[in-house]
Assembly symmetry: none
Homo-oligomer: 502 residues x 2
Amino acid sequence: MEGASSVVPGFLAKLWALVNDSTTDDVIAWSRNGQSFGILDEQKFCKELLPKYFKHNNLSSFIRQLNMYGFRKVVTVESGMIVPEKNTTIEFQHMFFKQGEAHLLENIKRKVSSGRTEDLKGSDDLQKALAEVQEIKEQQIGKDNKLASLKRSLPDVSGSPPSKLSRQCVPIPVENGEAVDVLDPGSPTVKDPNGIVIQDVTASMDDGPSGLGAPAPTLFLSPTLSADPSSLLEGSSHLSPVHIIPSFGLDLDVTDCPLQITEDSLEPEDIDNLPLELHASQASDSEDPAVVIDSILNDSHVSTQGGGFLNRNEMQDFLNCIEANLEELHSMLSANKLTPDPELLSEIPTAEFPILNMNETGASSNLADTLVFTKSAEEGGMTSEFEADGNKDMQLVQYMGNPLLSLFEDLPSFEDRSQDAGDLLLADLEDEKDVPTYLEDSDDPLCLVAPSLSDDYENPLESFESPLLLEDPNGEYKLFPLLLLSPVANFIEEATEIENTI
Amino acid sequence: MEGASSVVPGFLAKLWALVNDSTTDDVIAWSRNGQSFGILDEQKFCKELLPKYFKHNNLSSFIRQLNMYGFRKVVTVESGMIVPEKNTTIEFQHMFFKQGEAHLLENIKRKVSSGRTEDLKGSDDLQKALAEVQEIKEQQIGKDNKLASLKRSLPDVSGSPPSKLSRQCVPIPVENGEAVDVLDPGSPTVKDPNGIVIQDVTASMDDGPSGLGAPAPTLFLSPTLSADPSSLLEGSSHLSPVHIIPSFGLDLDVTDCPLQITEDSLEPEDIDNLPLELHASQASDSEDPAVVIDSILNDSHVSTQGGGFLNRNEMQDFLNCIEANLEELHSMLSANKLTPDPELLSEIPTAEFPILNMNETGASSNLADTLVFTKSAEEGGMTSEFEADGNKDMQLVQYMGNPLLSLFEDLPSFEDRSQDAGDLLLADLEDEKDVPTYLEDSDDPLCLVAPSLSDDYENPLESFESPLLLEDPNGEYKLFPLLLLSPVANFIEEATEIENTI
DNA sequence: GGGAATATTCCC
DNA sequence: GGGAATATTCCC
């Protein structure tokens, strides 16, 4: 075994010796070109040589080994057909088995055994699969958090005391510093020359005057957004964008929501030139249901920019990625054949999905939630106020209690309290069939919006994402807005009072 | 090899013969009690017997085989310590290797090869993977349910009773800009020179049969949102984009929300100058946030229509595909555990992944719910754009089955169609850059809410799915807003009262 | 040719 | 004792 080093498997070393042994060239020898070797005397080879080198005398075993090492039988073809006599000589060749080139032997690798192949492959694949799973798992967590946030974001607007669960007020980041004024409970209304400021002093009701630092009462845009239409319309000719951010999951008791509008706002005369610019408090991205959902769905990717929105392509990529992963996982697993181990089956735990925890309370509504409409100081309409930073700030979401719970606590709709979120959710959980039923009854397929956005009809504000402003050929903006506000009962009352006053 | 049948592996058969051969009892023989056998003469055993039965003469190899078949070495202990001399005799035993009981041999199983070991190990990993997958799967289900619930939970704010589930707006398909048909004959309409027709169908809500036969008359514009139409319509000043972000999950009691607006409120005089064109809200699926979310949950991938957004079906398919993969994967994993037979996989039942059933229609439209603003066709104001959109929208609309849908069903508002959540979401998806822009560049930080509510300052027109803006033959844009209303019945009444008071 | 089980060797 | 690689056998 001249050139065969220790790294060369026994079979190859023996084969090398066997073929190179010139004393047996009548039985087995290199071909003329040294690119292959032939067994010239099969009988003698099996009876005399094989046992000398191996633990058997079976040609088939020898050939089996050759195959295991990748040797291929050389088929001699003459005139397009196999020559009979030539067949008597068994000839094999291998890219790295060449006369005089023992160093090539180390390149010859034994095929992995079936067992190994499977194992290795399986093991490898499992590693990948597990990694994939882990990845997905983490993504899920991210989504869960997002959902939770979404749910939490639904503010509790009930008139009662501060709820510990969700008082998530979103601080109103005002860059121009005006928001502060608005937020101040002490200042029921803010109005600037151009616009109208509407402030919902609800918070002050129960809590009395609270400074900005007031703990319980939180101001923010509220679900119950109220505004004085007339006031809004008033003002200079130039209009500013009105941003009204309502809160989610309102649970307002009208009686508890003294929505106030000042007389000033009601003056019709001024309406003609409405320089209206309303800025509602800013909601953080995190609180935007749509955003939240979006991100939830897209969670896999690290939120990139401020918005954390995924664009369509990203979404697509993400989904494709998932798909690809699944595909691969699938393939890998398929490839991996396992041995039957019944015992393991029982061990497989099925995770339970903890959905709702209804124990959480925190449903106490929070009248303190203030609806704030602020007019931006800037006439020019769009201001740079709302910036990423502001948004970021908004992200501060506190996860209170059960997300889902909070979500639904405030959801109840007018008519159908019976169908509050909690019920729905539970119902769904209990019976998946409920969903379809629910849907089936739906009369309007078109109405789609953000989850948080409940009926839109009633809530024009939400829809107003789109600008109500239009620019005409003359470069003038025309408008349209309107809006209004709500919560209403008090609003009406107030309005009436105002009217009377007038 | 007396009792050894063909089912017994070579080694066991040979061992059985070897031990039972009484002629070699001086080398290897049964112990006195026949419960074990011992190698009495190791040297002789290796040199004479092993080669006779096996392809080697190594005791270690023999022992290796014994171990492979589960034989255990018998350690003789005397007086608490191993007796030296006794060690000379190598003794092994196996539960099923007993003198005179050849039939037990078949119970002796060779340990799985390393390969097998790996398989087992792999099996273990698969167990984990499977468990993980299952967990994820269940979480997904939970999330889907949650999202669905969330969407459903969005309260129905319509003033009337009917469907407790959803107050779906039925978009009025306006192809030529004529939604007039939809208008309730009984309701007052306002039409200005420009051909704009405004109709407040609120009144008809409670009053019974609406011309359209709408079951549950609902006014759209949000429940909480109220505005003075007249004020809104009045004025010719420059308009700025209005961003209104409504709240979510309102839980208003209609009776407590006497928000009212009457026709009176609409001052006719002012109306003349209204380039008002109202179109029933038409939401395009792709643009409807709800739709987007829905599609996210339901799947799809190649975006085909509508602006390159993924349409709902596509999304659905895509997600279904993923689901299917997971299912299959799960099945495979499960199957692997049980049997090594790949074929069995197909037999494994896959857990159900309740996604969305898009088949549901329930589109019974509810005209009553619809607010119809229509511009007369004569105006020719309708641009092809809108028409196209309108059509698309209509197509998209039918996602009733989806829970998500219900969420948004009521969302559509006039103006906001343009920028409904769906649009935003989609937009985001398409171009990630939009996100930053949106968030960072947004002038209005406050406007956060549903994704759909993003600022659309830059693209007001496009966003207007229901075009609030129209270009007239003169190349002028006219606007038109309107709105209002909501919750309704009481609202109107109240308004009237106010008016009267004045 | 090659899958698969068993056998043998090598090594920890 | 047993993991692991290689070897041998058996079979398709």
